[in-house]
């Protein structure tokens, strides 16, 4: 008897494992969390934020008034870097782009699917710090995605389980339309 049990125990376990794997893969657990690609121009956030004490909104200028946080225009960068730190290789790389009248093709890291509408200004004006979602970018020599940005992760705040708890709608059509 004992000997014969494994005959169906083994395939049983295998199927269970497969099912669990498929389910977890499907269940939205997949995410680009931890993704940290190299950028065409190495942009040192710590330098700008900590050393130079620049505010996030200085470059991401529309984060508090538009759904789109805004990317600094090349002119914004070159406003300083025509004179500042021109010796640094990164800055020279930036300058070479600028001299060719090309914008820098930054690699996108934080992205929610297109069927999700994420208005930055509502969050920023509600007092959600940039770091809440983007992590401590001010410490990242190379930016990486700190949070999964999955729905469950969003909803956790919206239903008031965050600390401190925020007041936010959790009706589906708040984000999905």
């Amino acid at each position: 008897m004992i000997k014969q049990r494994k005959w169906f125990a083994i395939p049983g376990f295998l199927t269970l494992a497969a099912a669990a794997a498929i389910l977890s893969a499907y269940a939205g657990a997949s995410s680009s969390q931890g993704n940290s690609p190299a950028q065409p121009v190495p942009f040192p956030h710590p330098m700008h934020v900590q050393t130079l004490k620049m505010n996030c909104v200085y470059c991401h200028f529309s984060a508090n008034k538009s759904p789109d946080p805004g990317l600094p225009a090349m002119s914004t960068c070159m406003g300083c870097h025509t004179v500042v730190g021109t010796s640094k290789p990164g800055v020279q790389k930036l300058a070479s782009f600028a001299s060719k009248n090309q914008p820098v093709p930054w690699v996108r890291i934080h992205k929610v699917p297109e069927y999700v509408h994420f208005p930055h200004m509502r969050h920023v004006n509600a007092g959600v710090s940039c770091q809440t979602c983007h992590g401590n970018v001010q410490n990242m020599a190379q930016v990486s995605q700190q949070n999964s940005l999955n729905m469950g992760w969003c909803v956790n705040c919206h239903v008031g389980r965050s600390n401190p708890p925020f007041k936010a709608r959790y009706d589906c059509a708040t984000c999905h339309y």
Partner: protein, 1041 residues
């Protein structure tokens, strides 16, 4: 409209190039977080624009001569939506389907992307420098014989024609022909003769009676948008509204809005007008028109009694000029024609006879160089005029067309013009008012504004006409206050002033009468399609897919004949008949339509372009091939004088129609009330009394008191407490007003007082978000709705709705379901709002039938049948009353649609939003128009009207940014915003300050299928009928069961 700024941003073009596949092509296929995406910053940040926030530019619509004001919504450098300009004197905020679809002219995939030159017999791409050099050289040659040069220009008012003519004059060439295929040049000639203006404003509101002789003022005859606004306002005046009688061989959209229809023989309208003017007797008129005397006598007496009456007449018939003049003469006495605020945009349009004459010159070899700008004479001129052959004889042909068409295909040099949304200009809207036109975005392709080209060439050819480098600086130089003045005026889109129009009255060529009108016992009636006009719209999928307001046919050309005629011929809908005239023959599928005389066959113009005219335009067949060329006294082409033979043909093709049953089967979807019943009580939709009482326009006392009793029971709001005890009871008389001012009912006890707050969640009226205190709702006034279908196209534009009718999109699984409209023959059209056209009465096929148009969209039921059946909560009820569809949750069981009584849910049968697929609905660059705020739905999910939830969220976000609440009537939905008859009102019905909250309590208010207890948020206001002495068709609501 948040900010209106004047100056187009800098270098948005570069931004566009690289980010073309960005958020605007947002599609919900999977989670794209894995894909490596680039974030491309601006090089120099454009001032006044914030990424992700729309910028609004006021400009002018150039789709027809009316010069309506538009406001272009631009997001991140792309123009994504056009709205009417509320401050504009012409269209007062409304915009028709054609105007909406201007965007698809801008982003049309079949536009010329570079200049083209013919080398070795075929067109090749070239550079502007090269093209301009060739053009310059050819001009230099041509100037030796300036008489041999001709220019055909698309008519437009404003400064450009002046510039063009002075440019031509500078080289000793004749002024350009100014052609507008859609304009009724007969009526214009008559108006100029009678009133001295090309197109007066008709004051419908002041009249007691409107008689239209084939004048389709609602579907493209003249300034149709303002005319529709005025007409709707007039007809909404209840007891003071004018009655409307339509005389003509075919009941057009305008005719369907008439209370009575007098089906006169084509060309016999003049006789009836003469009868009205007393020149002839009813007997004579009856003799000529084939209408029975009694009816004409009644018309005569009613006309005599009604003061003032307005008589409108259109050309196109054999004696169009005489008809229009006679009609104008009748109006001369009444004050219903306002010359002061005439629409000046119609001045200077040349009749088609000029092109015909030019054709004859070309035939004789008298033309060495032909220039054509945005007109397509090769398509427009009937084969019988032999224009194509003649044009082939011209040695050098230049086209400024911005888009492929039959004429530019024959050209030797193509200098593509900018689209009107990419160029500067102005239009003469009304007297002393200029409507300003500015670029709403940088050119999509490598095109140049024709004005700038002319200026540039004039410098190289040594005949400078202006010192200015381009047209913009020319405008500024002319503008009072210069650049600053212009910058100040642009946000409003209008400025006072006027531009001298070049005189349209060139020597009129001797008109040619019909060489051979042919014989046959039918009269062929070719009419401009309300959506496609004379064919300019044919390359725009929105307009091709828009069902014709009358026939509900899309993507297809049909022969309309009377059911009795069809029986005689032994054909049914879809069977092919051969329509044969002296000019040619076509085999067309039959559409039986009882709004047409038995001796008339009607074919809509606008479709059936050559393959060269682009991928969409070749749908259908070309009605001009059947037309024997003939002109009336004004030099305009005759559309209704060709004799035709109609014989049965073998084939059969499915009609590409959205029409199921044209009858309501007494289901009370479109209800009506007789004007006499208005005030005090509302007519009993459910009872036989109404049906009898209706024609007399009286209500039995017993009925009245029952109604009043109900009202009392209903209480002020007509809300919950007044709701019938047995909602399914057919004999019950329902009450006006929104059943559920809040979402309470849908959520059962969730919203009720009984439950604990934490169980209620956001459905708790006390919840901080306040969502449950709102109830987004809509009223649709059927007394105003004319069925023009502008709302449909507006919805396509706003909500990224795919068109599914192109031949490559169809399901190639059944042989008879391929080709253009294949999907629609399987009723797979996706339009979230549709115009249902129901006929009442005239079951015998007689002329006495009434038409009711019902815009049908998701009713956002408070108690929605679709919600409980969705296994995955993809559709559910939001606390603010919206019936939400979550695309990314939908698995596609389609149970919701099965359970929807209104059938307003649409399924993505194919990957219409996926660029890789054959069925892709937005080939580059059409996808640039996609609204970034709305998800492009993927394959296999259900979709439906969302009440423009993206606009609700935007308003909420804006309000939150400004630390205030959403103001009453602060925003509205796309269909309501476009509606040229102001039939649709949207808002928060739970807040008394919104307009909609008042309208839902109107005495005419009713819900469709109320007996199903769906508690709809869309409240319809009953149509108001104005029966006349001869009206026999049922004018009250049908019995509701």
């Amino acid at each position: 409209m948040s900010s209106e700024t004047s100056k187009p941003g800098v270098k948005r073009r570069e931004f566009l190039k690289v980010v073309g596949a960005g958020s605007a092509t947002a599609t919900m296929i999977g989670c794209s977080s894995e894909r490596v995406e680039k974030l491309i910053p601006y090089f120099v940040s454009p001032d006044q624009t914030v990424p992700g926030v729309s910028t609004y530019y006021a400009s002018t619509c150039r789709e027809c001569a009316s010069a309506c004001g538009i406001i272009a919504e631009t997001r991140d450098g792309r123009t994504i939506k056009l709205e009417g300009n509320p401050d504009h004197p012409v269209n007062r905020g409304a915009l028709c389907a054609k105007g909406q679809a201007a965007l698809q002219g801008l982003y049309n995939p079949d536009r010329y992307r570079t200049p083209m030159v013919r080398r070795g017999g075929k067109l090749e791409k070239t550079t502007w420098d090269d093209a301009l050099k060739i053009f310059g050289d050819k001009l230099a040659e041509a100037r030796r014989n300036p008489g041999g040069v001709a220019f055909i220009n698309r008519h437009q008012s404003g400064g450009f024609p002046q510039l063009l003519n002075s440019w031509l004059a500078g080289m000793g060439m004749a002024p350009a022909l100014s052609i507008d295929p859609d304009a009724d040049t007969t009526a214009i000639a008559a108006n100029l003769q009678t009133f001295g203006v090309a197109w007066p404003r008709y004051d419908f509101a002041s009249t007691r009676l409107i008689i239209s002789f084939g004048a389709d003022f609602l579907d493209g005859w003249g300034a149709s948008v303002p005319q529709q606004l005025d007409f709707a306002d007039a007809r909404a005046r209840g007891a003071n509204a004018p009655r409307f009688i339509y005389v003509g061989a075919r009941r057009s959209l305008t005719g369907l809005n008439a209370d009575d229809w007098i089906p006169a023989k084509p060309g016999s309208e003049l006789a009836i007008v003469q009868m009205l003017s007393g020149a002839s007797t009813p007997q004579q008129a009856a003799q000529a028109s084939g209408v029975d005397v009694a009816r004409l006598t009644a018309l005569q007496t009613e006309f005599a009694a009604a003061k003032p009456a307005l008589v409108l007449a259109a050309g196109g018939g054999p004696n169009g000029m005489e008809l229009c003049l006679a009609a104008n003469a009748l109006n001369g006495t009444s004050g219903a024609v306002s010359i002061a605020d005439a629409y000046r945009g119609f001045e200077g349009i040349d009749p088609v006879s000029h092109i015909r004459a030019l054709g004859q010159r070309m035939q004789g070899g008298g033309v060495s160089m032909l220039m054509v700008h945005n007109v397509d004479p090769v398509y427009l001129m009937p084969k019988s005029s032999g224009f194509r052959a003649a044009m082939a004889k011209v040695p050098f042909k230049v086209s400024f067309s911005s888009i492929m068409d039959e004429t530019s295909e024959m050209a030797d040099l193509i200098l593509p013009d900018n689209h009107s949304l990419e160029s500067w200009g102005e239009a003469q809207a009304v007297t002393n008012t200029l409507s300003l036109q500015q670029p709403t975005m940088d050119p999509v392709f490598d095109t140049r504004a024709i004005a700038d080209v002319l200026l540039a060439v004039s410098r190289t050819t040594g005949t400078p006409i202006a010192t200015m480098p381009d047209y913009r600086s020319l405008m500024i130089s002319r503008f009072p206050g210069g650049a600053a003045g212009l910058a100040a005026a642009l946000p409003k889109g209008i400025s006072s002033g006027s531009v001298q129009q070049p005189a349209g009255s060139k020597a009129l060529p001797q008109p040619v009468a019909a060489a051979n009108a042919g014989n046959g016992d039918f009269t062929l009636l070719v009419y401009p399609s309300p959506a496609l006009g004379m064919g300019e719209g044919a390359n725009k999928p929105w307009l091709q897919e828009l069902p014709d307001p009358v026939t509900k046919i899309a993507w297809q050309t049909v022969a309309e004949i009377h059911p009795a005629t069809a029986r005689k011929l032994g054909v049914e809908n879809g069977d092919h008949v051969i329509v044969e005239t002296a000019a040619g023959k076509l085999s067309l599928p039959v559409y039986t339509y009882q709004g047409i005389r038995e001796d008339v066959v009607a074919v809509a113009a606008g479709r059936g372009h050559a393959d060269s005219a682009g991928r969409y335009a070749k749908a259908g067949s070309n009605a001009f091939d059947l037309l024997t060329y003939a002109e009336d006294r004004s030099g305009s082409i005759m559309l209704g004088s060709t004799r035709a033979r109609v014989t049965k043909d073998g084939g059969h093709s499915r009609l590409v129609t959205t029409e199921g049953s044209a009858r309501q089967h007494g289901r009370g979807i479109a209800q009506a009330v007789v004007v006499g019943q208005l005030g005090g009580t509302h007519e009993a939709s459910g009872s036989e009394h109404a049906a009898e009482a209706a024609p007399q326009g009286s209500v039995s006392g017993e009925q009245k008191e029952r109604a009043l009793g109900e009202k009392a029971a209903a209480g002020e709001h007509g809300g919950e407490e007044g709701h019938p005890e047995f909602p399914g009871d057919a004999s019950h008389e329902f009450l006006p007003g929104l059943r559920s001012p809040t979402a309470k009912d849908a959520q059962g006890d969730l919203g009720g007082p009984g439950t604990k707050s934490k169980e209620k969640g956001m459905y708790d009226p006390e919840h901080w978000s306040g969502m449950a205190r709102r109830r987004w709702a809509m009223t649709i006034d059927l007394a105003r709705c004319t069925g023009c279908s502008a709302c449909v196209t507006a919805c396509y534009a706003e909500n990224n709705i795919p068109t599914v009718g192109a031949d490559w999109q169809g399901p190639k699984v059944l042989p008879d379901r391929t080709g253009f409209g294949a999907n629609i023959t399987r009723s797979r059209e996706m339009s979230w709002i549709r115009l249902e056209r129901y006929f009442e009465g005239g079951e015998d096929g007689g002329a006495d039938f009434e038409t009711r148009f019902v815009p049908m969209l998701c009713q956002h039921c408070g108690n929605a049948p679709c919600e409980p059946v969705c296994p995955v909560y993809a559709t559910y009820h939001a606390p603010d009353g919206l019936n939400v569809q979550v695309y990314n949750r939908c698995v596609g069981t389609r149970y919701c649609s099965n359970n929807c009584p209104y059938k307003v849910r649409y399924f993505n049968w194919f990957g219409y939003g996926e660029p890789a697929r054959a069925q892709y609905a937005f080939p580059e660059p059409l996808n640039w128009q996609l609204n970034p705020d709305v998800t492009v739905r993927g394959k296999g999910v259900m979709e439906k009207c969302t009440f423009c939830v993206q606009r609700i969220r935007e308003a909420e976000n804006r309000a939150a940014l400004e630390h205030r609440g959403v103001e009453p009537d602060e925003f509205t939905v796309a269909c309501a915003e476009a509606c040229p008859s102001r039939a649709i009102t949207f808002g928060d019905a739970a807040d008394e300050r919104w307009t909609v909250a008042k309208l839902v309590n109107d005495e005419r208010a009713y819900h469709v299928f109320e007996e199903l207890n769906t508690y709809t948020a869309v409240v319809y206001l009953k149509k108001v009928n104005h029966p006349g002495a001869m009206t026999t068709s049922p004018v009250a609501a049908p019995e509701v069961h």
